[in-house]
Amino acid sequence: MKKKTLLHFSLAVAFSLVAVMAKSQTADDAIMMGKKQWCNGLTYMYSSWKNYWEGTLKRENLNLGTVSTQSVMFMSTYGITNKLNAIVSVPYIWTHASAGTLHGLKGFQDIEADIKYEFLGTKLGKKGHLLLFVVGGISTPLQNYENDFLPMSIGMGSTNLIGRLTADYQNGIFFATASSAFEWRSDVTIDRTSYYTGDQIHFTNKVDMPNQLNSNLFVGIRKPTLIVQAQLFNMYTFSGADIRRNDMPFVSNQMNMTSVGGHVKYFFPFFPNLAVVADADFTVAGRNVGQSNMYSGGLYYVVSL
């Protein structure tokens, strides 16, 4: 039940990882590639949960055991100008339940493309510097994966439009980044002619997907060769029903979650085009999602064209 979350976290993770000499970036951080710089990276992520929230009720399920999600994500960022970057990501995901009879699923999930624009850079205070970014993005399934088999599905199947605003403040080596994205989600199609959610039966195979707000806050130190940050992520779904008692999750459930974690990005002094990144995030609150712990690591390589 946290496929979507997964993508967000992999995005957050992967994208905020790279830094590189020239800096790198992701949709939700404040790092930009310079003009004609091209960054490519691969990130591996492992996420798992044993407990989940059935609505607001936290429970375990002996017929699921521990549900794990793994992904490898390819991410590519290109500096069109110093202030305008294009970002594309493609995740491959596989799921597994340690108990019970549900089989895991695997496959390419959703491709996401973003345009990130730094529209303001100004001094703030004696030594501080403020940057403001706007990001517009779209994500859509790469294939017709099964989206009506939560929590084993690898994705929701919706095409999403994303609008994001990011503010970044740096003073010396210390920085803070706050970012929030509104995600409009299209209806999805499921392989059933009727379904029950929101206290009523629906005689259709189309499902209305509630929109989401994805926000993050980073605080830490940022130097040319090292970024270390504490991070907080929040996903909020504007509507949708709760999972009923002992029911399966459903694509349009109201899935909310908050996680706290950390992120490190390091550039090798002997090979400054290469960066290594690592993240860990722990879910501290949620609704209709698993209480997942997420770990990821990746490598990013930057070339100048």
């Binding site: 002996l62 017929n63 108990a99 019970g100 009879t101 624009y117 529209f119 303001l120 403001l132 706007v134 517009g136 439009l161 609008g163 605003l165 509104f182 409009w184 299209s186 209806d187 009727s194 379904y195 029950y196 206290d199 009523q200 039966i201 629906h202 005689f203 259709t204 189309k206 499902v207 209305d208 997907m209 009923r244 008692r245 002992n246 029911d247």
Partner: protein, 336 residues
Amino acid sequence: MKNIFYSLTGLMGLMLFATACQKDVSNRTSNLPALQSSNLDLNAGTWKPVLLSRPDSFAVAAPVATTSPLYVADLFEIKALQRSLTKDQENSIKYWAAGGVLRWNEIMRGLVAKYNLPVVASADGTYAIPNAANPLAYPLFPFTNPPYAARAYAYISAAQYDALLACWFYKTKYNRAAPYNFDSAVAAKFVNKTELPSYPSEAAVLAGVTAEMMKLLFPGEIGNIQNIAVQSEQAAIMSGAATRADVTAGEALGRQVAELFIARARGDNAGKAVGTPTDWANFVDVTKSQGLIPWYSLETPQRPPMLPLFYKVKPFLFDSATVVSLRPDSSSCCRI
């Protein structure tokens, strides 16, 4: 500053675009046209009922004369309603105009979906059994697993069938013209005019028989069902197809037919189909003694079998000996 302007404008544009693409998921039966009968089946009162011994087992008194002040008052009620229909009332007429059997079946499907949740295991590893006497306590009664749902659909459908046969019997017998045919000041609102006699009202027969059956099958829903039944009857009146007296007679007939089916349902062994722990253990022993692999639950903790004695429930269309003869033989089954 120009950059800021462009960026924010772009972002706003994206949001506006997103908002403009309004999501419009609707039921495929939401906007069905009004039912257009190809045949009124005016002889349906002579068809063979499922359970009724005769179509007139339950008496329906003759309607009052059309010259009676009571009838005139009924017509006046319709005209008054039709003069000031609200949007909700119009939608209610259109909804029911697609066909009462269809709508009640959809309502049934909604209830079956709502109650089709297996109970969560108790702390001691057992599973509580839904209790018809306390339907709103967890686990809710009923658990509409496939056998329960199949029986519920069968009873509702068979009871509706017999009730409508009886309804048609009296329609033909009394041959009371529908209000929109009798009085030119009564319109056929959002329904197709037919020559079907209106006494007793088929919509009210359906409402009465279904609501009464639901008391047995979905005892936790009777309040909602009663509201829906009243709405369907009110829609029939507002549409110009039935008078208040047609509805009152129809509902009473429907409820009486339901009582017959309810009496049968109480004695058809379904209440005992869940079995006891002794029964469940016995299944395993007997199966093993025949050299076969018994069914066992793959769940943790193991869940008892689902209505395992359902095979003893009395069928509608054949006797219990036929049930046995229809079973596959076990010779090709999974031996130990």
